[in-house]
């Protein structure tokens, strides 16, 4: 180390360091105030955000000139300070110290917060943390839901009213936490984690009744939002801010503007409507079951009746045919007999005419032909072919069943004889 310059007296070096630092550019810083303390002439605090912190000091005169509201410079306040780095070299008795010497201070406006928010949002989005919760399956009908909110407040009441409107009356597990400012973030984060670690809890609502972005700053806390993003239980955010969404809205599974909407998101099923739909389904099933069996039973019964009906139909048709055949048969016999009589008459007339002629031989021959022809038409010839002639016992022809029954006993004449028959 002997090659290094010096050694210099440390007091001189300390003053040189002070000069160097005071030459650095004056800037504005934005962050959260913590650890505020005061001496007779100065106020001390740390200004910090998630990435780091700087010790700060401001003369009370400068603080008074800033015109902050009474007590505004307090732990948790988001402020913008103007100034530059400074170094107090200390002395024989006093300890040295580094501080950012603030000469101006004002409360951070929404513009300052939004700028920080956007930077953080960009970072978390680039890490894919906005998508994790949205990929989780959300139960349509959870039985137990967890809710992180303030113990007293409209959010609690509105959420319960919303749940009841959906006909839902399961179990709500409350994890109360302050939800007012940035300091609330660790408590909110812890409450969410405790709910998520309870197996019965199927979804978590984080609710607050709205406010300015500064009021909702806890819900933009990086640690809180990273915690939510990594949970395996879906989180529904309802920290309504009308103009700008908080960071928890981005990482949550669902972001709602009001606790009422959160009730609809955490229990997607309208339970009253579901009960009515279920009753309709049950009725449809009953109808389908009964209808299927009933229609088939009717069909089977119809089939069972089918053969009997068909037999009856055939029997009627058969009887009709029988009657028609019988009528036709009677008609045919009568016509045939009349035809034979006409033929015989014609033949006899012709034979008589010829017999009366001068030539006896030819007349005889003609008479013989006539006899042969006549014989061909005799009923006996018909009987020889297998027909039977029904007659009464006195030899009268019987032409129908009625006549046969009336005769009590009839005679059936064959070609080679006759027999008598009686109905039994």
């Amino acid at each position: 180390m002997d090659e290094l310059p010096g050694p210099f007296p440390v007091g001189r070096y300390a003053r040189k360091l002070q000069e160097e630092l005071r030459r650095r550019a004056r800037v504005r810083l934005v962050g959260e105030v913590t650890g505020v303390s005061r001496s007779k002439v100065q106020a001390y605090f740390e200004l910090r955000d998630a990435e780091g912190a700087v010790p700060c000091a401001i003369w009370l005169d400068d603080l008074d000139k800033a015109g902050l509201p009474e007590g505004a410079l307090r732990d948790g306040a988001e402020v913008v300070i103007g100034g530059g780095p400074d170094y107090y070299p200390g002395g024989g008795q006093a300890s040295p110290s580094f501080a950012f010497r603030a000469t101006h201070v004002r409360l951070a406006g929404e513009g300052d917060l939004l700028a920080r928010l956007e930077a953080l949002r960009k970072q978390l989005r680039s890490e894919g943390l906005f998508e994790l919760q949205k990929q989780l399956a959300r139960p349509r009908l959870p039985k137990t839901i967890g809710v992180v909110t303030a113990e007293s407040g409209a959010a609690r009441r509105d959420l319960l009213a919303g749940l009841r409107r959906r006909g839902w009356a399961g179990t709500v597990v409350w994890a109360f936490a302050p939800v007012q400012d940035r300091r609330a973030a660790p408590a909110i984060s812890r409450a969410i984690q405790e709910l998520a670690a309870t197996p019965a809890v199927e979804a978590i609502v984080v609710a607050r009744g709205g406010g300015s972005l500064a009021d909702l700053w806890a819900f933009c806390d990086e640690t809180l939002c990273r915690t939510v993003a990594m949970l395996r239980v879906p989180v529904i955010s309802a920290v309504g801010h009308e103009r700008d969404s908080t960071l928890i809205d981005d990482v949550a599974a669902v972001a709602c503007s009001t606790p009422t909407h959160a009730a609809e998101a955490v229990v997607p099923l309208d339970c009253d409507a579901a009960r009515e739909a279920l009753a309709r389904s049950a009725a449809a099933l009953r109808r389908a079951g009964e209808g299927a069996v009933g229609s088939r039973r009717r069909h089977l019964v119809a089939l069972a009746r089918g053969p009997a009906r068909a037999l009856r139909r055939e029997r009627i048709a058969l009887n009709q045919k029988t009657r028609e055949i019988r009528a036709a048969s009677e008609r045919g016999l009568a016509e045939r007999r009349a035809f034979q009589r006409r033929i015989a008459q014609v033949v006899l007339v012709r034979a008589a005419r010829r017999a009366a002629g001068p030539e006896a031989d030819s007349r005889r021959e003609a008479l013989h032909r006539a006899a042969v022809a006549l014989r061909a038409h005799e009923p006996e010839r018909t009987l020889e072919r297998g027909y039977v002639l029904a007659e009464t016992t006195t030899g009268e022809p019987v032409t129908g069943v009625a006549a046969a029954r009336a005769a009590d006993e009839i005679s059936l004449r064959f070609s080679d004889g006759r027999i008598r028959v009686r109905e039994t």
Binding site: L160, T171, V172, V173, A175, T198, S281, A282, A284
Partner: protein
């Protein structure tokens, strides 16, 4: 068949989805008698399951703090 009728549905939404499939199938009129009776049986089981699920959130809304829930779960041995 998407799932066996005798198995408990994995969730209410799965049960409702299957129930809607069954009713659509029955409404189509294309199911034979055996399938119809089987679908009706499965459907009745699903209706019973859904009804039980709805009944579980149909009585009185219960409000617990986290430690109360933990104590309740310990009592019930869940």
């Amino acid at each position: 068949m998407a799932e066996s009728a005798s198995e408990k549905p994995e969730s209410y939404e799965a049960a409702v989805e299957r129930l809607e499939q069954i009713i659509d199938r029955l409404d189509s009129g294309q199911a034979g008698l055996r399938e119809t009776l089987e679908l009706c049986r499965e459907g009745r089981e699903l209706v019973t399951y859904c009804s039980t699920e709805l009944d579980a959130v149909g009585a009185d809304l219960e409000e617990l703090k986290l430690d109360e829930l933990a104590a309740k779960l310990e009592r019930t041995g869940s």
